[in-house]
Point group: C2
Chain length 282, copies 2
């Protein structure tokens, strides 16, 4: 249990961290900074928030753990901004969907005696905003903790225990391993869903009412914020391209099988896809 | 209200048609034929079934509407098999996911005085079997009725009213229009979900536990039967290939934008995808 944690830029994820940490005895007090004055006013009255500050460096004072919940490109600037207020021994983490660049720059942005370790809870949805937060958002969700060889193992353990305490299944990986994995299991599905929607947007408008639950589910994530996802794709460009090339290869195989009328090659691809889907655990 | 309808090969869809038709006053009695003797025994004891026959031609006797619910490639053979028992004035329909070939051959398989009209309710799921049937499966789901210029308008109306009575939103289209639409809004999402899973099946097995709700939802339909989907792709080959080419074009645009570091082109594609997704009605 931490005496005090600080949440910077709480949206859906940050507010859920605060709710879960208090409900599950992982943090006694939660201090908060939010960029917009009206959000600070709102959040100040909520029961998961013990104090609100106007400046990031004030919010982190005395916090043993700081969780930066801003969009990907704003994380490192916010770490730099709060750095003067960080207490010796504090752990600074984030919840960004990409890790390599953030971890490299984040480690350089904190003062001596403070440790930056990246986190990525695979939770959230196309909904955003602290008003959608729930204390069980992380239940049984995968959460990456991205250590590097120079990260003190005991701080990695402390952070892993925190996420575990919030209900998550913790996986440790290097930032580079993380980025390769999420390029395939998260960023690639997003790219496919979004490009499917772009394709359909160029077809007749009356088709919009003629879709079933299959299209509904395969495209749900395409409703995510274009700005957040631009940042994610930009920071994970190489791995996303590699993943897109990989799925393109399988799509070419399917197209060849169809064009050749090779129904059994089509069936074999579908059967391999089904076998993998049925083996996934969520 | 029909006095008598016949359901041939009831699985999830056929049993749901029977349940909904009885619950909503669209049919007084339901007669059934199923291929496997053990299924006939099971179904004979269920409250949505009034009589079970060992032969399709017996099951359709006296039925004003016959709904053939077999997999795509078995529909026309089953129409031929039941033809000797069909009553004059009967309407024969099916629930297959492809329509051009089935409607062409189905029209030639029924005797003079009987009308074949294709149907395609966009309901169902990766689950199959009559035991998963529900009377509200068609509520607010799109359902195609595929008439051709030589179909008597009053039989089209009768069939459209039946599906409407089961809760569906009925759309009429030619079989060819239908196949183009579903290639894009149903078969293409299935192909993308399946090839995404094939791609992931070639990645490290430990990644399986590291996926979030996005992957869960985008790939759900990949659990569908490879045999059913092989038949669907085979019968709708040309349109599915055209749809795959269309989404390939958008994926190439995304890859170029990423490779060129053109974040604003990436954002523009994502924003167009989101706008379309947000405009869909389900």
């Amino acid at each position: 249990m931490f005496e005090r944690i600080a949440i910077l830029a709480p949206g859906l994820l940050g507010a859920s961290v605060a709710l879960a940490a208090k409900a599950r005895g992982q943090a006694r007090t939660v201090s908060v900074w939010a960029r917009r004055p009206e959000t600070r006013l709102q959040i100040g009255g909520l029961n998961w928030c013990d104090s609100v500050s106007d400046r990031p460096a004030d919010a982190v004072k005395g916090a043993e753990l700081v969780v930066v919940c801003a969009p990907v490109e704003s994380i490192v600037p916010l770490v730099r901004e709060c750095a003067p207020g960080l207490s010796p021994g504090a752990i600074v983490t984030d919840v960004g969907s990409v890790k390599s660049l953030i971890c490299r720059q984040g480690r350089g942005a904190v003062p001596e005696g403070v440790t930056f370790i990246g986190s990525h809870p695979m939770a959230g949805s196309e909904k955003t905003g602290h008003e959608h937060a729930t204390e069980n958002l992380f239940d049984n969700r995968a959460c990456f903790v991205t250590a590097t060889p120079d990260t003190p193992p005991e701080t990695v353990d402390t952070l892993a225990r925190f996420w575990h305490g919030l209900g998550a299944r913790v996986a440790t990986a290097t930032p580079e391993e993380h980025d390769e994995i999420v390029a395939n299991v998260s960023h690639l599905p997003h790219a496919l869903a979004a490009m499917l929607c772009v394709h359909l947007s160029e077809r007749p408008a009356k088709w919009k009412a003629l879709a079933g639950n299959g299209l509904r589910d395969t495209t749900r994530i395409a409703s995510g914020s274009p700005d957040l996802w631009r940042e994610i794709f930009s920071q994970n460009r190489e791995e996303v391209l590699r993943a897109l090339n990989g799925v393109d290869h399988q799509l070419q195989l399917l197209r060849s099988a169809l064009a050749n009328g090779d129904d059994w090659a089509v069936r074999d691809l579908l059967a391999r896809g089904k076998a993998h889907r049925d083996s996934l655990t969520f």
